[in-house]
């Protein structure tokens, strides 16, 4: 056993990066070839083990993806032959194994690498409506996000066995319920794409919200979701909502470094705008403009537009609030939700004054009983009461918010507000 040294470490980092960059596309093509999720994953795992053993002494291949694909394919065939049994499924597998020629020239094999469409198949399959949302998220991160089960568990603050079980159940359902491995038909595409975008956005939100836990893993989630959004952008160039989502993530991510200080939330108005990532903002804005020119607006494009208005403003006070109010109005028409109404009320407060906004918030609370259980509703309500001079009611609302707060970061912020009023 050789002593670990600096070269080994750099190699390890390089291999990890290769793994992260290509394993998704290799897995996707293996699943198509083998028709079996589990078999494909195990074969890829074995191929990876061989890569780590083989590459250091022989140089990393120029196309590591193709190398892994061919190696995994060989491993899968070996496994199928080893597990030969007399039932229909394995007869079919044996036919498949016979059709594949494991002794191909490696040069020929280099041509036969992963196919881009396979990743689309994979992501649509992971996000199939027959699977629970949390299973969709876990599978997407496992297969295309390149995260291990322990990493996903840590990111979502769930015990590892629970997360492992969630993935096992999802794969079982895929097999037993007959979830197909394919890109949805044109008719189904809008709804199915919406689910994929929702999963990617959920991953980003999980990483972006400072709710405690391992910050490094959460930053990884943001990076992961942006990579997934870029993949979708490459694979589906004619979908403006895909551009909209990527723009939205880039614009949000540009502010990430300024959102938290010493474990506390830093509000938009207090963030140091000099530290916002102008390159990301530029890229996001360009993407958004390109998307909007297609004339097919949608929720992600509009949310990105709101984020762009903030990103371009020199300060909170000089932000184009009327524009934001208008955009929230558009968003509410397309995808009505109490969250959007609440956000719009805040924008109305900044644009038209707090008494008007307070009325809107109280009407919302009256119309939507679910608001009573949401900490953010009470926090916003409290702030508006404070700004319109009703300190006593503000104290009550902040107290409610504290009770319902979900993270220590949010709670400490709200407790500070409460203390300042008492």
């Amino acid at each position: 056993m050789t002593e670990p040294n600096a070269t080994d470490d750099t190699q390890l980092v390089a291999f990890e990066r290769i793994h992260r960059d290509v394993s998704g596309e290799v897995l996707a093509s293996l699943i198509r070839l083998l028709g079996d999720f589990d078999l494909a994953e195990e074969a890829l795992q074995e191929a990876w083990v061989e890569a780590v053993r083989h590459w250091p002494d022989n140089d990393v291949p120029t196309r590591p993806g193709a190398w892994l694909f061919q190696t995994a394919r060989r491993k899968a065939i070996d496994r199928i032959r080893r597990e030969q049994r007399r039932d229909a499924k394995h007869d079919a597998a044996m036919v498949l194994a016979e059709q594949l020629h494991p002794d191909d020239d490696l040069e020929q094999a280099e041509e036969d690498g992963p196919v881009a469409d396979d990743q689309l198949r994979l992501i649509f399959t992971c996000c199939h409506p027959a699977l629970a949302r949390e299973a969709q998220v876990a599978l997407t991160l496992r297969t295309l996000g390149g995260l291990t089960t322990p990493e996903i568990a840590r990111a979502f603050l769930v015990p590892e066995p629970t997360m492992a079980q969630r993935i096992v159940r999802a794969k079982k359902k895929m097999r037993l319920a007959g979830i197909p491995y394919r890109i949805p038909r044109a008719d189904d595409l809008p709804q199915r794409l919406a689910a994929v975008l929702a999963v990617v956005y959920l991953i980003f939100t999980e990483g972006h919200t400072a709710t405690g836990g391992d910050t490094l893993v959460r930053h990884e989630l943001c990076g992961n979701s942006i990579r997934l959004a870029r993949l979708l952008h490459d694979l589906l160039p004619d979908e403006p909502e895909v551009d909209g989502l990527l723009a939205l993530l880039l614009l949000h991510d540009a502010r990430r470094s300024t959102r938290e200080r010493d474990g506390s939330v830093v509000l938009l108005g207090e963030q140091n705008r000099d530290e916002w990532d102008r390159v990301a903002i530029g890229e996001g804005t360009t993407l958004l403009e390109r998307a909007l020119r297609r004339g097919r607006p949608g929720p992600y494009q509009i949310e990105a537009a709101i984020a762009a208005v903030h990103a371009e403003a020199p300060s909170l006070e000089t932000t184009d609030w009327p524009q934001i109010v208008m955009l929230y109005g558009e968003l509410a028409r397309l995808a009505p939700s109490p969250v959007i109404e609440l956000n719009q009320a805040v924008a109305v407060g900044m644009a038209e004054g707090w008494p008007t906004a307070l009325l809107a918030v109280e009407r919302l609370g009256h119309d939507e009983p679910a608001m009573a259980d949401w900490h953010r509703f009470h926090a916003v309500h409290a702030e508006m009461l404070e700004r319109t001079g009703d300190a006593a009611a503000a104290v009550d609302a902040y107290a409610r918010a504290v009770e319902l707060a979900e993270s220590s970061v949010e709670r400490s912020y709200l407790e500070a507000k409460l203390a300042s009023l008492r």
């Binding site: 039932d87 229909a88 409506p129 027959a130 037993l176 319920a177 007959g178 979830i179 197909p180 189904d188």
Partner: protein, 124 residues
Amino acid sequence: MKYMLLIYTDPKLAAEMTEADGEALMGEYFAFTQAIVESGEMLGGDPLQPFDTATTVRTFNGERVTSDGPFAETKEVLGGYYIVDVADIDRALELAGQLPGCKRGVDAIEVRAVAELPPDMMPG
């Protein structure tokens, strides 16, 4: 792959239907069944007699107990089923959504794949 489409109806909503509604629904079911027979996807299916005519059998302390009524006291009750043979779950879900009661927002359809037993375990 074979799937069972289990049709669960809210009896209150069903009771609110007029006679004309009920007849229209029957007509739609007829058309639906006709279509999947023609496509070769239909393997079987039946409407069931009303849920309050159900009888439940259990064994309790070694003794067989028979009682009046369906198995579970739920809001929605099993009203009928189809068994279809389709390529994958997507087509099964599509058919489920096309079921007349489902389209009207009255029924919930549970879609379950039939477990295929290995040939040596099949009777007959």
